[in-house]
Amino acid sequence: MSGLFESRRSKFLELRLRRKGSGVPFSPKPGMDPLFEKCPRCGRAVSKLDWYKGLNVCPGCGLHRPITAYQRLSMLLDSGTFREINASLTGRDPLQFPGYRDKTRGLHQRTGLGEAVVTATGKIDGMPLVVAVMDSRFLMGSMGVAVGEKVARAARYAQKKKLPLVIFCASGGARMQEGILSLMQMAKTAAAIEEFQRAGGLYIACLTNPTTGGVSASFAMLGDITLAEPEALIGFAGPRVIEQTIGQKLPEGFQRSEFLQDHGFIDAVVPRSKMRDTLVQLLALHTGKRR
C-alpha cells in the first residue's frame, strides 16, 4: 500500500513542478505545529505525513478535507499522462464588479489556478479520458463564464475524441460576481453534457464537498453514473437558506452524500482511497477492457 502512495506522491510532485506556483499542500503556517495538524472535526493530532499519505482524509474520523485540483489529478491519473486543456482560458469582468479582477489575479498567483476548474486529458490504468476537476480554493469553486466554458469544452472535446468524461465537482454554485452570465452557464454546461451523452459518451460525475447551487442543478446531477465522497454537502439551496425559509434547524446529515444516496440521487458513496479503483472498474466496464 505504501508503495502505491509513494508512486502517487511522485506523480503529484511531478505535476506540481509543471505548474509553477501551484499551492504547496501542507506548508506550515506561522504559529502552527510544523509536524502535526489537528483534525478540525475530531481533534486528533495527525502528522503532516499521515495527512499526506491519507489523501487528506483524517485517519481517526474519516473526515474528507478538501484537496486541490492538481492533488486530485495526481491521485487519479497514470504518471506522465496528464495534459491540461484550455489552461489559458479565463473570464473577464462583465459586471465590472468592484475588486473582482484583483481577487482573481491574487488567487491565480496564490494557487497557480487559472480558474476554478482544471480540465485535462490523461489515462487511468491505461484508459484514456477527459477529466475536469474543480478547486474550491478559487472563489468556492464558483461557476462563472470561464468555468462554464471549460466544462462545456471538455464535454465537446470528449465527444469529438470519443472519450469518457469524469468531472469532480466542488462548488458553492454560480459566480455572483459575474451576474446573470453565470446563471447562463448552467444552461450551457447542461446542454453540452446532454449532447455528449446522446452521442454515446460516458459521463461519470463525482460530487465532493460542497456541490451546491448552480453547479449541482446543472452538470453535477447529469451523470450516467453519479458518485460522491463521504459526507459531502450536496444540494440546490444552501443549509442556511433552508433554515431561514422553514424557521428551524436542519437535522444532522441533511443534504450529505449518504442522505442523497438514501433518497435515490447517487449511485454510490465512495471514500477517497477507493475512488481511483472505482473509476478504473467503471471505465473498464464501458471500454471493453478486460480485468
Binding site: N86, P94, R156, G179, M184, A191, M221, A237, F265
Partner: protein, 269 residues
C-alpha cells in the same frame, strides 16, 4: 412607458402583487386551455401551471409559474417558488409537446426554486438539471417570456427558449438582490446598490445577449387590454420566426453555448 426608472424601482415593479401575472397572459392570449396536472412521480405542484391550448387557432403547449392571488394561494404556491415536481411536470408537458409537434410557450415569474427541506429531499437540483438538459434538445420551437421576477436557476429551468422575451419592467438575475448583497458584502441593507450593479433589467440583459426582445409595458397599471395586445403581437412575430428554424434544438444549443462568449479569453480546444 416608464423609461427612466432605476434598477431598484424596476425590481419593486416586477414584484408588485398587483402586476399582471403569467396566468393572466395565458388566460388572455390562449383559447381552449386544458390544464395538465401532476408529474406522475410524486404529485402536482400548484406553483407551475401547464397544459395544451390554442394560440390563434394553433395547438401549442403552455407552461407558466403562479404566485397566487391571496395569502392562502401564496402559501400553497410558496409565492411562486416551484417544488421539484413542478419542474418534472413541466418536463412531462415539454416531452409531450415534442411528441405531438406543438410549439412551447413558457411564462416565468418566480423568485426562484423553493428552498425547503422537502424540495431538497425530492431532488430540486436534479429536477432543474434535467429540465435544462431536456430543453436543450427539444425538437419543437420554444418561446419564453420573463414576466416579473426571473429568479436564479428556478427561473432558468423554464426559460431556455429559442427566443427569450422580457417585459420592460421585469428583472432576471443569478439570485435576488438581497441575497447578492448579503453574500458579497455581508450586508443585506445594500439592496439598492446591488440592484444597480447586478445588470438585471431588461435593457441590461438585451445588451448582454441574454434576452432577444423587450416587450414594452403601457404606463397605466390597469391597462390589461393594452398589455395583452402588445404581448400578443410580440408572440405572433416570434412564433413566426421560430417556426422557420430548421433545427430548433441545434439553434438552442448554439444560442446557450454562446452565452458569455464575449467575456472569455484564451483556450486551446
Amino acid at each position: 412607458m416608464a423609461r427612466n426608472l432605476t434598477a431598484a424601482q424596476r425590481v419593486a415593479l416586477a414584484r408588485d402583487p398587483g402586476r399582471t401575472s403569467p396566468l393572466d397572459y395565458v388566460q388572455g392570449l390562449f383559447t381552449d386551455f386544458f390544464e395538465q396536472r401532476g408529474d406522475r412521480l410524486f404529485g402536482d405542484d400548484a406553483a407551475i401551471v401547464g397544459g395544451i391550448a390554442r394560440f390563434h387557432g394553433q395547438p401549442v403547449s403552455v407552461i407558466c409559474t403562479r404566485k397566487g392571488k391571496n395569502l392562502e394561494e401564496n402559501l400553497k404556491m410558496h409565492f411562486g417558488m416551484p417544488e421539484p415536481e413542478g419542474y418534472r411536470k413541466a418536463q412531462r408537458i415539454m416531452t409531450q409537446a415534442e411528441k405531438f409537434g406543438r410549439p412551447i410557450f413558457t411564462f416565468v415569474d418566480t423568485p426562484g426554486a423553493y428552498p425547503g427541506m422537502d424540495a431538497e429531499e425530492r431532488g430540486q437540483a436534479d429536477a432543474i438539471a434535467r429540465s435544462l438538459a431536456l430543453m436543450s434538445r427539444l425538437t419543437v420551437p420554444m418561446i419564453t417570456v420573463i414576466c416579473g421576477e426571473g429568479g436564479s436557476g428556478g427561473a432558468l429551468a423554464l426559460a431556455m427558449g429559442n427566443r427569450v422575451l422580457m417585459l420592460e419592467n421585469a428583472v432576471y438575475s443569478v439570485l435576488s438582490p438581497e441575497g447578492f448583497a448579503s453574500i458579497l458584502w455581508k450586508d443585506s441593507s445594500r439592496v439598492e446598490e446591488a440592484c444597480g450593479v447586478m445588470k438585471l433589467t431588461a435593457q441590461d440583459l438585451l445588451e448582454l445577449g441574454v434576452i432577444d426582445e423587450i416587450v414594452p409595458e403601457p404606463e397605466n397599471a390597469d391597462g390589461l387590454g393594452a398589455r395583452l395586445r402588445i404581448m400578443d403581437g410580440a408572440l405572433m412575430k416570434q412564433l413566426d420566426a421560430v417556426k422557420r428554424l430548421k433545427d430548433p434544438a441545434r439553434h438552442r444549443q448554439e444560442k446557450f453555448a454562446a452565452m458569455g462568449g464575449a467575456w472569455i479569453r484564451g483556450g486551446n480546444t
